[in-house]
């Protein structure tokens, strides 16, 4: 689950800059943040702590990707 959802985003873009692992991106059309690369979330909560409107929900679980023999 990691970073779960972004609700009530005002499009300030701070979470996009803040995420150390570049998980969040801003949709150029809607001007809102969305979860672009959830597999790279390290559950550090920085995005949530920097969000001015408390829009981000994060859960502590992460399902480890299945290891495959080539990819």
């Amino acid at each position: 689950m990691t970073i779960e959802k972004i609700q009530g985003c005002i499009g300030c873009g701070i979470c996009v800059e803040t995420c150390p692992t570049d998980v969040i991106r801003q949709d150029p059309k809607t001007k809102k943040a969305f979860i672009a690369y959830p597999a790279d979330c390290q559950i550090c909560h920085l995005c949530k702590m920097y969000c001015p409107v408390d829009a981000i929900t994060i859960s502590p679980e992460k399902s480890i990707p299945v290891i495959v023999s080539w990819g």
């Binding site: 990691t2 803040t18 390290q42 559950i43 502590p60 992460k62 399902s63 990707p65 990819g71």
Partner: protein
């Protein structure tokens, strides 16, 4: 796999909400369009590599990285008269390990209960000689001044550091470029000439000319679960190694465990650490964060846990294992063993925010059953990185400096010896490197980066975007984690397994690294990070094989004892003239040739 699951969840919710046909089709279409990069598929680039534009810029001092070391390097280089530019892969004060470090050491000679000499002696005893006393002393002498600088910037007023780091840079009008991944350093006529990299947001390649470069790029790991280090992959170290810099400390390990429940949850795994405002820690000397717990898990198997009441003697201690010098045994619960933060260890002193540490048991958040490897790939802070040739954080390449976790200064030695020293050390070294780089820059002309070098760098940067076939960085990273993270490879070492792991890593180096592909700029970043992790893994295995003894955070099952006759030396790694990895010894009390 993860992506698709998440998308399905969202779609189901959307379905319930809209309960209508047309919108349902729209939701399904969204599902189908979702690329899944963990899946094997051909590369369909979303970025046109041929249309990338390039941006050129120049400065006196180029600071790479924007954590604690970076901000001090920039400020002090500016104050010493240089034009400074800060370039970071992330955001100022919000990337790398800096945002999570909450305890900072300050040594005040006026009020200290321990004399400087006693402190230095004790550190050397605990570090079993592995520390560089010149850098340990520097920390003592400068830490208070740096803490006072930080107070002035408002560092201690918030748990988040972007605002207080922005203040001194804005006041000085220092240019900060964020979200630019630097991948190459340039050396021209035997000295540093600049750097190149790409933007995560725009289709642009940056060529940055500079009289001097300071690497404040932090350390790195193998993107482990449970430690907020997944954006650090030894980028600075590998870039510098590629142009001939010497690198050290790759055999040491940070033995940080994670919680067995939700092991990937960095935030929860650290109790309320990330929520706290930073605080000044006391001055204490310990012998912590090595691989003792990993040894116990290796011998006994899971579950391993820590804690217990204060003063309680551990009855389940195992025989043998890493040697702990007399006077540093854990009489109390081993609270320092996990430390209080990647950069702020509060064991023995006051907790971050000036609060006393919790009484008894494990550190906050670390009670209960544990799993290993949450900081896999990282060494003890400041024991790995660029080899300094003097006390000015200078590398063997003229004009190239490093500070903080990017510098192998051995300030604490190869095991945690100083409470709260990690943040302080980065601040102190950042300032020293900044002043030294500014001084150097005054004496040299602005270098030129040849067109041929620029073209070569550009080709290399764009290569993963241009590959229609290849390997996804996510898969190669997972494979590398599977090779390197097991307890019996990285922590409890022996020759046969180190060699076996090395064979796998050499395969990744020779066959997979040249075939890494990327569909967008995010994945391009992952491709570079993966390449850097492969180089780091090779360094770690080779240095571990070479060090035929056990000491501090390096433990060899086949050489369990300390060998002071042959191994009172650090291991330096450099690129040979034929491009191969070379290793050499540097005696503890010397500087490199």
């Amino acid at each position: 796999m993860k992506t698709s699951k998440n998308q399905t969840d969202i779609s189901r919710r959307t379905f319930m909400t809209i309960a209508g046909g047309a919108a349902g089709i729209a939701a399904m279409a969204a599902m189908g369009l979702t690329p899944n990069r963990a899946e094997a598929h051909s590369n369909i680039p979303k970025v046109d590599a041929d249309k990338m534009s390039s941006v050129e810029s120049e400065t006196d001092v180029l600071v790479l990285g924007s954590g604690m070391a970076g901000v001090f390097a920039a400020v002090k280089a500016h104050d010493a008269g240089s034009k400074v530019m800060v370039v970071s892969k992330g955001r100022l004060g919000s990337s790398g390990l800096t945002p999570f470090a909450k305890g900072i050491f300050a040594y005040d000679a006026q009020t200290a209960t321990v004399s400087a000499k006693d402190f230095l002696d004790k550190v050397s005893r605990s570090a079993l000689g592995t520390n560089n006393p010149v850098y340990t002393r520097q920390l003592l002498e400068h830490s208070l001044a740096r803490v006072n600088d930080l107070k002035e910037w408002g560092f201690f007023a918030s748990p988040l550091y972007n605002k207080c780091f922005s203040k001194p840079l804005k006041e000085r009008n220092i240019e900060v470029k964020e979200r630019i991944v630097i991948t190459h350093l340039f050396k021209e006529k035997g000295r540093i000439a600049g750097a190149a990299g790409f933007s995560l947001d725009e289709e642009k390649i940056y060529f940055l000319k500079a009289r001097s470069v300071i690497l404040c790029t932090g350390s790195g790991a193998f993107k482990p679960n449970g430690f907020p280090v997944c954006d650090l992959t030894h980028d600075g170290t590998v870039m510098a190694y590629n142009i001939g810099a010497k690198v050290t400390g790759k055999e040491w390990n940070d033995g940080h465990p994670g919680k067995s429940k939700n092991p990937a949850d960095c935030y929860g795994g650290w109790g309320d650490m990330f929520d706290q405002k930073p605080g000044v820690t006391g001055v204490g000397v310990v012998h912590d964060l090595g691989v003792e717990l990993n040894y116990k898990a290796y011998v006994k198997g899971n579950p391993v846990s820590m804690g217990g009441a204060p003063g309680q003697v551990k009855t389940d201690a195992v025989a043998g294992g890493p040697y702990v010098p007399a006077g540093f045994e854990h009489q109390k619960p081993p609270q320092g063993e996990k430390g209080q933060g990647p950069g702020g260890h509060s064991a023995g002193g006051k907790g971050p925010g000036g609060r006393p540490p919790k009484e008894g048991g494990a550190p906050p958040g670390m009670a209960g059953e544990l799993v290993g490897g949450s900081s896999a790939g990282m060494a003890i802070h400041k024991s790995e990185g660029i080899v300094p040739i003097n006390d000015k954080c200078q590398s063997n390449i003229p004009g190239l400096y490093a500070a903080g976790d990017a510098l192998g200064s051995y300030m604490v030695g190869s095991i945690y010896t100083q409470v709260g020293s990690s943040l302080a050390g980065s601040a102190v070294q950042g300032a020293i490197a900044g002043e030294a780089a500014a001084e150097y820059s005054k004496g040299v002309d602005m270098p030129e980066i040849s067109k041929a070098e620029q073209n070569r760098a550009q080709e290399e940067i764009l290569a993963p975007l241009k590959r229609t076939e290849g390997y996804s960085p996510a898969w190669v990273t997972q494979t590398l984690q599977g090779i390197m993270i097991p307890n019996f490879v990285l922590y409890i070492k022996k020759e046969s397994l180190l060699k076996a792991a090395l064979a796998f890593i050499e395969e990744l180096r020779d066959h997979h690294l040249p075939m890494l592909r990327a569909a967008d700029l995010h994945e391009l970043r992952l491709a570079y990070e993966t390449a850097n992790m492969i180089t780091t893994a090779e360094m770690k295995l080779k240095a571990s094989l070479m060090r035929t003894e056990s000491r501090c955070s390096h433990y060899r099952l086949d050489y369990p004892d300390m060998d002071t006759k042959n191994w009172n030396a650090w291991i330096n790694i450099y690129k040979g003239t034929d491009g191969s990895m070379q290793l050499e010894k540097q005696p503890f009390d010397s500087w490199p040739d």
